[in-house]
């Protein structure tokens, strides 16, 4: 049996999943899943699938049997909720106007979106480039960094995810993508990510004042030893989720400036309000040279991502930086504009901050009641609950986490597991405090059930 990696999400080949499917799926769904497996290539995290979907709306997804689940995963496309009526309206209107724009031409709505992105970004940002996916946008950022610096090396983080293409998996830090793939892109160095709960440098175990920013200084050390690094590229908050201290990014920002490297932030999964700010980096009092956004940018409907860069980086006019067919898609841009307008009009960033703070405080209380919960953390509506077998050794409670996930699913709450034992909670930003309470109740009931099961 080949080793199954649990870094990116819950695995799709476990006995627990089979059991859940046997108990919950009817014949019609089973037959769709069979057909799905017949015609699609199997791979981790998708086919064979968990279930068949009929619709999605607001904070809910609905399966073929009519069961609704609050979706605290949503592949992070659902800032404004699924099937948002204002986004759908904008898409339909655009379909009646101009549905595609060849790359030699521009169109009004694409220009409007670019302008909007520059308006919502801090003043230092000036230029935009669009493409259909986050992976492609990361590639555009890497290319621009090479052209701007004349260097090719990068420093990125172990455990990070930046996309599925070769350049993205080369800077990414997960075996599930990198193993048996032959040589990666040259010059992609990796640093251990910040993590106070499981610090690889052991700072937190040394007693005294705890975290002493060794991990940030390690990045500076690498920049110095390599000498010609083009860029440090990282997610400003980790998907585990670990929220670094602002000093962490401030140290790295300074080190990048000192060594002539650019700082690129990948905000694909948490941009546009999830962390309580339009851009995640605004939480750290640090500005990157480039930021990549995606996923929810397309309103949860249209594949769209963007590279947004500061002044002085529009340097590649003779090169093909992002040669993508749907570069200035009028429909995609209409969806994105409607999404940003919806977020602003309904103050979703503020809602994310408020409901997120509330949820975090409730989860901290929950932690005191359940020894299975080793740590809770997060920022805005990007939350994580780390389950451990033992609070001292912090041994990952992998089987328990998976069991909790299926128990919650049966009660109408869907979320993703990362690293095998961390429940990640990323609901749509339109969620109310009452709905959050409902979800947290389901979570606690499920944890109770599994604690009882595992202590027997």
């Amino acid at each position: 049996m080949v080793k199954l990696h649990r870094s990116e999400g819950d695995i799709n080949l476990s006995p627990l999943r089979k059991k859940w499917q046997q108990e919950n799926l009817d014949d019609a769904t089973k037959s769709l899943l069979e057909e799905d497996s017949r015609y699609f290539l199997k791979q981790s995290l998708s086919t064979p699938c968990l279930n068949g979907m009929k619709t999605c709306e607001g904070i809910y997804i609905e399966d073929l049997q009519g069961r609704r689940y609050m979706d605290f995963h949503g592949n992070n496309v659902h800032q404004v909720g699924f099937a948002n009526p204002e986004v759908i309206e904008a898409v339909k209107n655009q379909l009646d106007e101009l549905s595609f724009c060849t790359r030699r031409y521009t169109n009004q709505v694409a220009v409007d979106l670019a302008k909007k992105l520059i308006q919502i970004a801090p003043d230092s940002f000036e230029k935009v480039l669009l493409c259909p996916g986050g992976t492609g946008a990361i590639g555009m950022a890497l290319k621009l960094a090479r052209i701007a610096t004349g260097r090719h090396k990068t420093i990125s983080m172990w455990d990070s995810f930046h996309g599925a293409s070769l350049d993205a998996i080369s800077i990414g830090g997960e075996a599930i993508f990198r193993q048996d793939m032959g040589p990666m892109m040259p010059g992609t160095e990796h640093a251990p990510p910040p993590d106070e709960y499981r610090c690889i440098f052991g700072c937190t175990d040394k007693g005294g004042c705890g975290c002493d920013m060794t991990c940030a200084r390690y990045v500076e050390y690498m920049l110095e030893k390599e000498g010609d690094v083009a860029a440090v590229i990282a997610e400003p908050i980790r998907s585990t989720p670990y929220i670094p201290k602002p000093e962490y990014w401030q140290i790295i920002r300074k080190a990048c400036d000192k060594h002539g490297a650019l700082l690129i932030f990948d905000e694909v999964p948490h941009c546009l309000g999830r962390t309580g700010k339009m851009f995640t980096f605004e939480n750290f009092n640090v500005e990157p040279d480039m930021v990549v956004i995606g996923k929810g940018l397309g309103g949860g409907i249209f594949p769209l991502a963007a590279l947004v860069v500061r002044k002085g980086l529009d340097l590649a006019e003779t090169r093909a930086l992002g040669h993508y067919t749907h570069e200035k898609s009028p429909v995609g841009c209409a969806a994105a504009l409607a999404t940003i307008n919806y977020i602003e009009k309904n103050k979703l960033a503020e809602n994310a901050r408020n409901v997120g703070n509330y949820a975090l405080s409730q989860l901290k209380k929950m932690q005191k009641r359940h020894p299975l919960i080793g740590d809770v953390r997060g920022l805005g509506l990007f939350l994580g609950v780390e389950l451990v077998k033992d609070p001292i050794t912090k041994e990952r409670a992998v089987n328990e986490a998976e069991a909790v996930m299926y128990a919650a699913l049966s009660r109408g709450l869907s979320f993703k597991i990362t690293m095998g034992n961390i429940l990640t909670l990323t609901p749509p930003l339109i969620i109310t405090q009452e709905q959050m309470d409902q979800a947290l109740n389901i979570l606690e009931e499920s944890i109770l059930e599994i604690e009882a099961e595992f202590t027997q």
Binding site: N12, S44, H152, L321, T325, E327
Partner: protein, 462 residues
């Protein structure tokens, strides 16, 4: 930078398409852009990163429908380029309706843990219409990513990592796709690319280094080179190519059969990139049908119905053994909206016999273009099949020196007469209209070309 206005050295800058920084471009802007269009272009330049082949752009579009694109002043252009998305025509009403209907079902996004019936229907349809025993699909938003999925699959199933692909080819803009691609534009100044990507020439019966004119001799020479690489560089995972090159050169069936035999012997897969050529373009539903069934077929562009980003790979049952790996970890993997568009596109192509239309109108165009060749000495060669056509312009029929300046002039002159196309490698006019084009419309296209070529031949440059 100083090569921008120098046509003699611009062969590499313009291999993918006409460059957007020439003097002709500036003249075209001055002559043709209204104040409204200029003001949008100014803002476009202000907010978008500049790059070759897009910003700064040629003009502003207000509409695109059928075989036409339309600018802000309502001027229509027959679009022979369309970035390859317009097989069923731009803004196809039946595809738009299918997308709107799908939006109304609220099945607008499918998290990757789940499936949905539209996505499964599309995968089943592709298993039915793709050649041979191709039957297993994987989707993603763009062709560039789909190429990477194909390479990843080849690496994982062969245990090898090297690739052989073709100079001058384009497979996408991502690092791996650009590495297997063969264009300077995507690699120059970029530093190290993906390791293990080896390149060779695509067969060329008009321009080959030996001066052969006999197909078989040309094929044999290229096959001998591939064999040499496979022998000396063990560990090739795949040979990746477009079945027909973009210029286009249509290789012989013998050539691709020879490649496939060599691949089987040395344990490499054959990957066909039909992002442009699939879905009827060449007068067959898939260009592979002219030659061989590849191990992996890569699709894109028109697959999204001409308006949604959508692409994918289709491969054989026996390669469906990577359930422990992530070969295509893309958010919009089983996007129901894109699947609805793709199904509507295929249905439209089938119902309206667009494959046959492409074959018929293409054959007619080819014969008319060959007539033009007799008339205009600047036309060195006519090539293509179906609605995938190319006109190679030369300064001299013997030396075959590329007529780059002339091609650029013809392009802008044709544009002013309502005909848009793209030039490749500086001197090759490529014609890839919507497959809905009629015989009469194609005649108009050829007439405009006849006029504009004639004018440039008589030194009336743009």
């Amino acid at each position: 930078m100083n090569s921008q206005n120098n046509f003699k050295s611009s062969r590499f800058a313009s291999e993918q398409g006409d460059v957007n920084t020439t003097q002709n471009r500036e003249k075209y802007w001055k002559k043709n852009l209204s104040e409204t269009a200029k003001s949008i272009c100014t803002r476009d330049n202000k907010y978008f990163l500049h790059q070759n082949l897009s910003t700064p752009v040629m003009n502003v579009l207000s509409k695109a429908h059928g075989i036409y694109i339309e600018d802000m002043e309502g001027k229509k252009y027959m679009d022979m380029h369309g970035n390859g998305v317009h097989n069923a025509g731009f803004n196809n009403p039946q595809i738009i309706q299918a997308i709107k209907d799908q939006l109304d079902t609220q099945m607008t996004f499918c998290p990757r843990r789940y499936t949905n019936s539209k996505a499964v229907d599309l995968a089943q349809k592709l298993a039915e219409i793709t050649p041979g025993d191709l039957c297993k699909s994987l989707f993603c938003p763009g062709g560039s990513e789909a190429i990477e999925m194909a390479i990843t699959l080849a690496k994982q199933v062969t245990g090898h990592f090297k690739t052989i692909s073709f100079w001058d080819s384009f497979h996408g803009a991502g690092f791996a796709a650009a590495s297997v691609g063969g264009e300077e534009l995507f690699k120059g100044g970029m530093g190290p690319m993906m390791p293990g990507t080896m390149h060779m020439e695509f067969p060329n019966y008009y321009r080959n280094p030996w001066g052969f004119s006999n197909q078989e001799e040309v094929d044999n020479e290229y096959l001998r080179q591939i064999k040499t690489i496979l022998e000396r560089e063990p560990g090739v995972a795949a040979i990746i190519g477009e079945p027909i090159s973009a210029t286009p050169v249509v290789p012989s069936k013998n050539y691709w059969e020879g490649v496939k035999d060599l691949c089987e012997k040395y344990g490499a897969l054959v990957i066909f990139d039909e992002i442009i050529e699939g879905f009827g373009r060449t007068g067959k539903m898939f260009a592979s049908e002219h030659f061989i069934t590849p191990d992996v077929l890569v699709l894109g562009k028109s697959m999204g119905g001409g308006l949604l980003p959508f692409a994918g790979i289709v491969t054989r049952q026996r390669y469906d053994n990577l359930e422990h790996r992530s070969i295509g970890h893309y958010t919009h993997e089983k996007n129901a909206l894109c699947s609805a568009a793709a199904l509507a596109e295929i249905e439209y192509i089938e119902k309206n016999n667009l494959v046959e239309n492409a074959a018929r109108v293409g054959a007619h165009a080819l014969s008319r273009l060959n007539e033009l060749k007799e008339k205009h000495p600047i036309i060195g060669n006519i090539a293509g099949v179906g609605l995938h056509l190319g006109i190679d312009l030369v300064k001299d029929p013997i030396t075959k020196e590329r007529a780059v300046e002339e091609a650029d002039g013809i392009m802008y002159k044709a544009m002013e007469r309502g005909l848009a196309f793209k030039t490749i490698e500086g001197n090759i006019i490529t014609l890839r209209p919507a497959l809905t084009i009629t015989m009469e419309e194609m005649d108009q296209v050829v007439d405009i070309l006849d006029e504009t070529i004639g004018e440039v031949e008589n030194s009336q440059f743009y």
